[in-house]
């Protein structure tokens, strides 16, 4: 029996450059049997690898309601993500997973939702957002607040119109100075734009993902707006190697982000030791 560390093989079907350094890959498993069996939930992740360069963790970027392919959006910042970026359509990479817990989408039924995504954090929220779009009648008012440093750094630009048509109010913002000619979105940091929207806490769930500094100010804004820590859900990232609770590096206190997360409520995150 192959060890848990031996990945499935997946072929790159197509690629799309989201920004100068962010690319979305569409993958198809080489083995038809694996393609049938490999199922995931919104929020789960996998170990993606380039043979000779190593493995790295990325969230599955598409919803399990769209299972024909596996999609992954990554910024080329490290050794493995750089190597993945250098692969072309037709080439093969390794995928093992799915790992981790998931967004509790069933508990969101009938509620109003706000997705707040900063930068590449949008990649982790695309799967639950697509899930909501594909089960749109189950949910109330849905808002996506997506921000980036500049217009050029916004991802999934080509999909926003379809999301809007699908019943999601899409609000995009860039940091002051990041706007470009013809920009018709907001200008301002995500927490400020969130406060301007004046979305009340009643019957609403907020799903947040972004860099640590954004999360910090976003949670302050949410608290100010009257949201309880239980109403706020986030997905964390930490350096991982095994993905299955063994290698020891993604831990925050007693919690293994890979095994116990990556999805946590803000109530859980607040109780963590400040080791992340």
């Amino acid at each position: 029996m192959p060890s848990a560390f031996q990945p499935h093989l997946a072929r790159i079907v197509s690629t799309r450059d989201e920004t100068p350094d962010v690319r979305t890959l569409r993958l198809a498993f080489v083995e038809p049997d694996v393609a049938r069996r490999f199922r995931w939930e919104p929020g789960q992740f996998a170990e993606f690898s380039v043979f000779g360069s190593g493995e790295s963790v990325f969230t599955m970027a598409n919803s399990p309601t769209r299972p024909e392919y596996l999609e992954c959006t990554m910024r080329a910042v490290g050794k493995v993500s750089g190597a993945i970026r250098s692969l072309s359509v037709g080439q093969v990479l390794g995928v093992r997973g799915p790992y981790g817990n998931r967004f509790p989408v069933e508990t969101w039924r009938g509620k109003d939702l706000v997705f707040v995504a900063g930068g590449i954090g949008m990649a982790a929220l695309r799967s639950p957002l697509q899930f909501v779009l594909d089960n749109r009648a189950d949910f109330g008012d849905v808002v996506l607040l997506n921000g980036a440093r500049s217009v050029a750094d916004l991802v999934y630009k080509d999909e926003m119109a379809a999301w809007q048509d699908g019943g999601v109010r899409v609000i995009r913002t860039v940091d002051p100075g990041g706007e470009a000619t013809g920009w018709d979105g907001e200008v301002g940091l995500l927490p400020h734009v969130f406060e301007r929207l004046a979305l009340g806490p009643d019957g609403r769930i907020v799903i947040v993902c972004g860099p640590p500094i954004m999360l910090h100010f976003m949670f302050l804004a949410l608290e100010k707006s009257g949201f309880t820590p239980e109403q706020v859900v986030t997905t964390m990232e930490n350096k991982m190697k095994c993905g299955i609770g063994l290698c020891g590096r993604c831990t925050i206190g007693r919690v293994f982000v890979c095994r116990d997360g990556p999805v946590f409520t803000w109530a859980q995150v607040r109780a963590f030791p400040k080791d992340f």
Binding site: M1, P2, S3, A4, F5, Q6, P7, L9, R11, S49, V50, F51, G52, S53, G54, E55, S56, V77, G78, K79, V80, S81, G90, Q91, V92, G94, P212, E237, N238, K239, K241, C242, I244, G245, L246, C247, G248, R249, C250, T251, I252, G253, R254, R259, P273, K274, D275, F276
Partner: protein, 356 residues
Amino acid sequence: MSEGAMASATRLTPDELHGWLAGMLGDKRVLAAVDEDGLRVFRSVERADQIALPTGKTRWSPKEFLFARTETLFAYSVAGNEVTLDGAPVESAEQVLVGVRPCDAAGFLRLDAIFLDGDADSLYASHRVRTTVVTVACDEAGPECFCTAVGGSPASDKGSDVHLTRVADGWLVRPVTAKGDRLTASLAGVGRAPSPEEHAEAETQSTRVAGHIRQSAIAREWAAILESRFHLPLWETLGRRCVGCGICTYVCPSCSCFDVTDTGSASCGERCRSWDSCTFAAFTRHASGHNPRATQAARYRQRVLHKFSYFPLGHDGESMCVGCGRCVQLCPVGLNVRETVQAVVAAAADGHDAGG
């Protein structure tokens, strides 16, 4: 676990013991504590006379025979757009570890708790199933030893398959598990039942050696106290001495963190797992450069809290540390985890020393 087997202890002469050990050499890989260039280490031996069962412990734990320093997970080859993976052949040859100290056998149980929990690690499991552990009760304690402070004992048979105790002019040999029964099956008709005096001698030795370990207990309740002291400024004071060399994690019987890396080229090579250390800065550093444990003090705190707080809180209070004392003995800057734990517990929650 051992009560029933107690009656089946056999008293062997040194010659009978070596005859038994020599019998294993034919069809099993035998690893024993040997002195090599002034260093005591576990090595594969070919002859029974190489197995001296020396007093004292080896420089580092024999965990590498269950959890290798580096191990191939699979081989890959890439030709154009096609990739072939070959899983590493599963090693099945039986191996016997002879002369394992109780602390190191306790370390195996900690590794079991980590690698055989939930998503069982099939590689570790394959090594575990083919390994038989022959422990030797300690007949002396080193100045670094503190097994009794963390629930162990110099005569413990926990984690052992066959337990040996040295008595005057011979050995008491006692199978502890079914694996131990199989390994001692060849002793049918060899040796004799131990005399009451020999049982008493073993008992006396155990009490005497335990008495030499004068370290006060690390109480089970401290696990929760330690977790609540995460923000204590004392961690910075203690941890800033750490140079991040990782020696404590390499010699530790229960440290089990690892890395997964590729060795080879883009066309062929192997994916391996290797020992890693939570005391290294790169251990937790993200590709973005952000490091959740940015300081050496934060990394030292992680190691201490994992052993004495996070692991026990998830394992019925059992310490992950087995008290072998190697990290205390070998730390180049004199850090002592046992004293660190005591100092953190003694400190008041506001960070000031309570005990004076």
